[in-house]
Structure formats: structure tokens, C-alpha cells
Symmetry: C3
Subunit: 138 residues, 3 copies
Amino acid sequence: MRHYRRELWFHVPGRRELINITPEVQKCLEESGVQEGLILVNAMHITASVFINDDEPGLHQDYDEWLEKLAPHEPVSQYRHNKGEDNADAHMKRQIMGREVVVAVTRGKLDFGPWEQIFYGEFDGGRKKRVLVKIIGE
Amino acid sequence: MRHYRRELWFHVPGRRELINITPEVQKCLEESGVQEGLILVNAMHITASVFINDDEPGLHQDYDEWLEKLAPHEPVSQYRHNKGEDNADAHMKRQIMGREVVVAVTRGKLDFGPWEQIFYGEFDGGRKKRVLVKIIGE
Amino acid sequence: MRHYRRELWFHVPGRRELINITPEVQKCLEESGVQEGLILVNAMHITASVFINDDEPGLHQDYDEWLEKLAPHEPVSQYRHNKGEDNADAHMKRQIMGREVVVAVTRGKLDFGPWEQIFYGEFDGGRKKRVLVKIIGE
């Protein structure tokens, strides 16, 4: 069995942003030499997500507004977690969008449907944060 | 390491439907010959889900109404994504229900609790769409 | 390829509770002897979750209130599933929090970011329920 591990680092200057990380993950897959197996891509932080959806700016704005409706940032005092912090909403947004994706590797490629792209979803930016890429297979 | 790959195709005539795909996934597992390992089952489209829950029609109607409350289809103009499309809500419903499940394989069987069943969740039907089944193990 | 399987049992006396199961999962990993691979940890019941987030009591209360807002338990008659049951809301809460996590194993350890902890999320307690730990790797 082959295995491969790499961390991808991101620094989002604002609070929230969605970043297409598919090219970085593809590069990891090429480096790994794995032809058949599984890739796990997960946020290593609990106020961020890794998810698969469409790379369409209108949709990304829709996601941002929708997540704000389901788990509003303000007023920060509505959350018990926000003692010396203001990121409780980010812990909730991350649960809706998810922590991780598992992607099939087939003949050395990410085995994707026509529009699948992998995103890093930052909900509490302003500092360096990491994504883990782990690949197992042969 | 053994590996197996198959696509399952679905054509939901209406907009939304939940389909129990457990028998098809079990057939894939039997074909694969894998006795111990992991199965990944994922929607290959970004307006559909694969998830595990109960095969109970009342619950499925509840899910449909609940998802409509959290991410309503109408008015379609409320979403920026809906320029020449009307499926922004389906991209959101899919995030709540999830893209994929990973299931343990033990002694050649889906290692399930008493009521676990795998569903394809279509949120933007009317055309042929796919699910990927990838199995690795031995 | 090595493989390992264990069930973890929980009995939450009330309806809802979040339990940190990271130490139990770590013990499983040590028992397995796997150095490089993947761990799947999933609820075997469809009204419970396994998820990764922060072990902070204020956040856990926030989650509870937030999930009650998104999928209220009462009135139980609002759900079609609740014929002789009252747990439809638990099937929804579980979809938001997720069924499973997949965690990388690197050099024999759970490959975690600084605050990642694994939780069992019970949304319909009062009876014994199970979590599956499956590990594959080498």
C-alpha cells in the first residue's frame, strides 16, 4: 500500500472566503504516484470546511448569505461560546458545509463528475490555517 | 489491495426524489470480492446527495418539507446563481444532506447498524445523473 | 493490508448529549497497530452523529439550541414520521451534524489539527446505541 501526506496552508485576510483547491489536491495526487485508492481532504481547523461543489461566483455569494441566515455572526453575544471569541457562528457554518471530502482515485486521476471541484471554506479567517491531504492506495 | 469502481445511473423525472440504492451498492460489493475495506459512495453531481438514513416514507416527506424551509426553491430570483438556471436551492440542499458516505466492509458485508440504508437524494432532476461506487480493501 | 473493527456502545439517559469519544478511538488505533491509513468512525444509528469539532461546553450548548431552531423537537405532530415515534427531529439534526468522520492515520497517530476532537452526538437517547470504528492501512 502506498500512502502520502501533505498539508496545504491558507491565509484568508477577511472573515470568510471559499477557495478552489482542486489544482493543489491534483498536484498531491500526482506526487503520490497512487493510481487506485482514496484521497481524504479535511480541514484541520474546526471553523473551516472542505467541500465539493460548483466553482461559480454567484453560487458562492448565495452560500455566504444562506449560511449567514442559518447561523448569523451577529449579535456575537447570542452564543455562549463567544467568551473572548466571536467565532461561534463559524463552528456552525462548518458543520453545514462539512469537515472533509473523500474522493476516489481511478487510473491516477481524481474520479470526478463534470462539475465537481474541491473548496476550502474559511469562516473565521485572519490567520494561517491548514488542510490535510492523505492518500492511500497503490 | 483490491479495488473496484462502478457508476450507478439515475433519471428522476420530477425535481426531487429520494431513492434507496442499498441493493445496488450491495451488488457492487459482491462483484468486487472485497472482504475487508471501505466503500465510498458519492454523488458525481453537485445538486444531488448520497446519505444514510431510514427508509420510511413519512420521514422522506418530512425531509423534503424541511429542506424546502431551510433552502426554498422559490422565488428563484433570490439566488445569484440562478442566471439561466433555477437550481441554486439544490446546491444548498445537497450540502445539508451531504455528498458522500463511507461505509465499512466487514467479512464481505456492508457493516451497518439495524436501520441504515443508503439513499440517492435528487434535488434537481429531469436528466440522467450518476453515483460513483469505489471500493478498496482485500 | 491491516484491518480493525470495534463497536463503541453508549447509553445517554436524556434525549440529547454530545460525548467526546477521542480517547476511545485512539485506543482502537493503538490496538489496531496501523501506522498509515484511514479510520472511519460512524454512528450505526440514524438519529445520532459522529462529528469533529471543539470540546468546549459553551459551544455544545450553542449547538443544542441552534439544532433545536433548525429542526425543533416540538410540536412532534408537525412531522409525518412521528406515528408512534417522536424522533423525526433527531433524523434531521443528525443530517446537519453528519453520520461519520474519516480521519487520517500518520505514524500511528490520529492526524489532527490543534483542536480537533471526535464527538458522538446523541439526538434520541434513552437506549443503548453504537458507533463503529473501522481502520484500514498498514
